[in-house]
């Protein structure tokens, strides 16, 4: 499988994603957005960064880039797509997933390890875990607060499309464990298909053993393996 890591102006986690995927034995390459998706792309990563300087809203500009029409079409055909951090903002801005990611409740940029409770273990992104497992993955964002209308939130919960929630070490979903004020502690959600997901934490920063404290994120990227 060749995974296309889509690089926009201002993406800065694209190399990290390729490196992490390489480590997992997944063939991955960076793809400049203006070049379009390669024909053999069997997976897509929308990486983190600050595409277009977060102008207007984080992810707003990249979400309207022509390549996103190709990404949406591929997603509808079942190609696995994951948006990480700025990629999550791009994914929600482009309509791949519901809700929006906006300014942290703290009004600060936050770069810190967080714990996530795996809410669904029957998706490609979480097959390595059990439901209720607690994993540690870092966040690095200023606009990661998940917002969604009450009606859409009810649908999201009813449809079981919350993939990860911020939690404490014991897996309790609490306000204290919510780093950014996200509605319902939501850290990651699924699109209409389980093969489409976005999350604010960075699994590619918790995959390589040499990088530090956690390799818990490897299971998420293992969806492409």
């Amino acid at each position: 499988m060749t995974v296309a890591v889509v690089q926009f102006g201002g993406s800065n986690c694209d190399r990290d994603a390729v490196r992490a995927l390489d480590h997992l034995g997944v063939d991955a390459e960076r793809v400049w957005h203006e070049d379009g998706l390669p024909d053999d792309a069997e997976g897509i990563v929308l990486p983190g960064g600050f595409s277009y300087g977060d102008y207007l809203r984080a992810g707003a500009m990249a979400a309207r880039a022509p390549i996103m029409d190709e990404v949406r079409a591929a997603a509808e055909e079942g190609v696995p797509v994951i948006g990480i951090c700025n990629g999550a903002q791009i994914g929600s801005e482009s309509g791949l997933t519901p809700g929006a990611f906006t300014t942290n409740a703290s009004a600060r940029f936050q770069c810190e390890p967080v714990r996530l409770r795996v809410e669904r273990a029957d998706t490609p992104w979480t097959a390595a875990y059990g439901e209720g497992d607690v994993i540690e993955v870092p966040i690095a964002h200023g606009e990661g607060r998940f917002e969604i209308s009450d009606e859409a939130h009810a649908d999201l919960v009813d449809d079981d499309r919350v993939l990860f929630r911020y939690c404490d070490a014991d897996g309790n979903v609490t306000d204290a464990a919510n780093p950014n004020g996200s509605t319902d502690n939501v850290a990651g959600v699924l699109g209409e298909r389980e093969t489409v997901a976005v999350l604010m934490p960075h699994p590619e920063r918790a995959t390589l053993p040499d990088l530090g404290r956690s390799t818990d994120g490897a299971g998420i990227l293992a969806a492409f393996a």
Binding site: R64, S92, A100, T102, T103, A105, R145, E147, G181
Partner: protein, 83 residues
Amino acid sequence: MTAYTATVTVRLKRGVLDPEAETTQQALERLGFELSDLRSADRFEVDLDAADAGEAADRADEMAERLLANPTIHDYDVAVAER
């Protein structure tokens, strides 16, 4: 065709937390100002030529729908004036 300026004002929906506005309010209060609330908004001034004010408003409305506002968190309004 007539020259118009369409002013699109995008603001957070009531009830959506606005940490930047809260921080700004706190800074004003530190300066000694008394205020009970503060809301921020983005204003876009779009110069365009249109057959009439209604067409100018329609085009600005579509700009807001497709890019300037995010319907999940924003309300917006459009005002059109001859330029």
